[in-house]
Structures are given as C-alpha cells and as structure tokens.
Symmetry: C2
Subunit: 206 residues, 2 copies
C-alpha cells in the first residue's frame, strides 16, 4: 500500500464524503471546483480538504481548483470502487428489503448479488436481481464466489454468528446493522449503523 | 449544562455504545460489570471507559465494578432518554417503512409518532401506530406538537428542503438518511447515515 497505509483513518473516512460531493457536482455539469467551494458544501474547512487530499498526491494547481471528473475518478481508485464491488446481504427483513431495493448502492460502486435469510418463508423471494437463499448455504457460497464484503441486517441475537461465518468464509469488510458490537479479528474492517446510537449522541445536547 | 458542555463530542458519541452494552448485560441478569469487561465487549480500553465516564461523575468504586442498572439509568439520564422521545419521520419509502416497523427504536428511547410523505398514494397508510400524512402539513404539525427530533428518509433531491422546513418548525435534532450533506444552522444537531460512505471507508483497506 506504500504511503497510503499511513493515512489516518479519520482522513480515509472523509474521502467518501468528498467523492459523493464531486459526483453531485459532476452530475450538475460543473467541471472545476475549488477546495473552498467543496468545503462550503460539506461544512469542512478548505485547508482540511487540501490537507486530506495531499496524502494521496497532487490533484490541483494552486488557485485553479480541482478538475471535478479527474478528482472523482482518483478518489474512486483510492477507495477501490472504480469497478463495481459485489456485496452479500444477510437478513431479508424490512431493512434487508430496503437495502436490496436501494439503487444508491449500485450508483456508487456496490451491487448486492447474494441475499441470505434463515426464514424458509423468505427463501426463493427475489427482492432485487438475486434470489433469497438459505443462510445454511451462506458459508459455501461466500467462499466459492469470493465475496469480500457483507452487510449484516439480521437481529442482534444472530449477528455475531453470522459475522463469524462471514469471516471464516473470507469476507474482509462487514457493515453491521445489528445493534450489537461485533467481535472480529483485527484485520477485518467493521462499521456499524445503529440509528439509536446516532440519535442518542444528539439528544445529549437537547 | 454546567461542566457537561465541555465534554468532547467523541466521548458523547461513545456513551450510547456503553448504554447499549449495559442494557444487554442487564437483560442477561448481570448486576455488576467492570470497566475491563465492558471494554472487552466493546473493543475499547478499560482506561478509556473509566475516563469517559469520569466526565459525568463517580459511577463505581475502585475494584468493585459498576452497578449495571445504576450506570444504565445514569447514562439514560445523561443522554436524555429516560422517558420516551417523540420522533417525526419524513419519507415513507422502503427505508421509512423499515424504520416505522423497527422495534429497536421504541425499546431504546424513541417513538415515531408522525410520518410524512409527499406521495398521495402513501398518505393514509399506517405502517406503525401512526398514519402517513401529507408533507404539506408537516411544518404546522411539527410546530404544534413541538417535535424536537426528525428522521429524514427522503430522496437526496428533497432532503435539504425537508431539513429547512424541520428547522424552521423548531426541530433541533436531525438524523439524515439522504445521501447529501445538509446545510443547517450551527445550533442544530445533524447526524448522517449513508451505507455507501461506511462501505467505501472500508474498501479503501481492501
């Protein structure tokens, strides 16, 4: 990974925000954007944006702004979403269905190509281009197809076991919607989405 | 707010995680938990947990661990979720429906008591205890009922206008699921949930 392994995680965390903003600007037909303009859109200082991007090279000349299309493609490359990445979704409840229907994933580098649920009543349903399969077959399918990314949308009680199975099957990136803290090996990337955690950290300030 | 206004935001952000873990421990019948045990569950050092909690008082005696029920109730008080808080949900698409059905909100301090959607075909539906109402009536209802918390689950194009309406109507806390960065006054709390941002900050490491 060269120097990129030294980039602070908090900087990496802002890159997808920059990429999202650049994608919007490009869709609007804008060709050049200054760090100042990006910063105003994102509530981030222009100095911070320039410093973050400088970890990865030289993307613009002083005073001329960034070429929107070029910087967008560079960020896609850095974030490994130049070509579409396949995602396995585990859990086909309300949230799983919402994720399966969500076209925002496809547009931004990810495609759900396998869905698993332990409920026989759901197996065989087709909420998107793929059919819901039995969780019992998950380990084999994840391994055979070489899935590196999984989204966990099962109840809290089932989430750790699902995560363990994913990791054993070679998954490296887990997005966890279950409201528990997963225990995984250090080399596995985990992020959690728990709306209650987000709400409570804000209600503190009420 | 006294000294609490000086607590770093990153510390505030960990409190809901501690509260969640304590709620699980209590449901399992555990009465006492050490910072070491909590830390192991959460992947956070015990020193960090003790330091975080020390911002808010003295919750345990050296060597005896925390009283699970007491600490849980204190964190609920600190995070203002002792009694249920009412939440307005804007957007009744797939994600809005999933949120309306999600009992994890109710169990942890929040109840969706108003839902709005601009689609006449959805208005009148009842995905939970409340009926989907016309977004055109949102400002008036938010203001009259005094909503302080709103969840935005509308498409990106509509999100800024919805946020503006919420803020004008007195909402102080916004949880935004739309994939754009909202522009709001500094005194408004905003958090965003965008699964693609979470995925991309992990695929960087692939």
């Amino acid at each position: 990974m060269g120097t990129s392994s030294e980039v602070p995680d908090i900087v990496v965390g802002r890159l997808p925000i920059y990429l999202r903003a650049l994608t919007v600007l490009e869709a609007q037909g804008q060709e050049i954007a200054s760090s100042h303009e990006l910063g105003q859109r994102l509530g981030i200082s222009s100095a911070q944006i320039r410093k973050d991007l400088s970890h990865f090279g030289e993307f613009g000349k002083q005073g001329t702004g960034y070429n929107v299309d070029y910087l967008r493609r560079q960020l896609q490359r850095i974030l490994k979403v130049e070509s579409e990445l396949e995602v396995a979704l585990i859990g086909a409840g309300d949230l799983g269905h919402a994720l399966a229907h969500y076209d925002g994933l496809n547009k931004r580098g990810f495609r759900i190509t396998a869905i698993f649920d332990s409920d026989p009543a759901k197996q065989g349903e087709k909420p998107c281009a793929c059919v819901i399969q039995d969780t019992a077959n998950m380990a084999q399918i994840l391994r055979e197809k070489g899935y590196k990314i999984a989204v966990i949308a099962v109840p809290a009680e089932a989430a750790q076991e699902v995560a363990d199975t994913c990791v054993e099957a070679g998954v490296k990136v887990l997005l966890n919607y279950a409201p528990i803290t997963l225990s995984v090996p250090a080399e596995i990337q985990v992020q959690q989405i728990d709306p209650v955690v987000h709400l409570q950290r804000m209600t503190y300030y009420l």
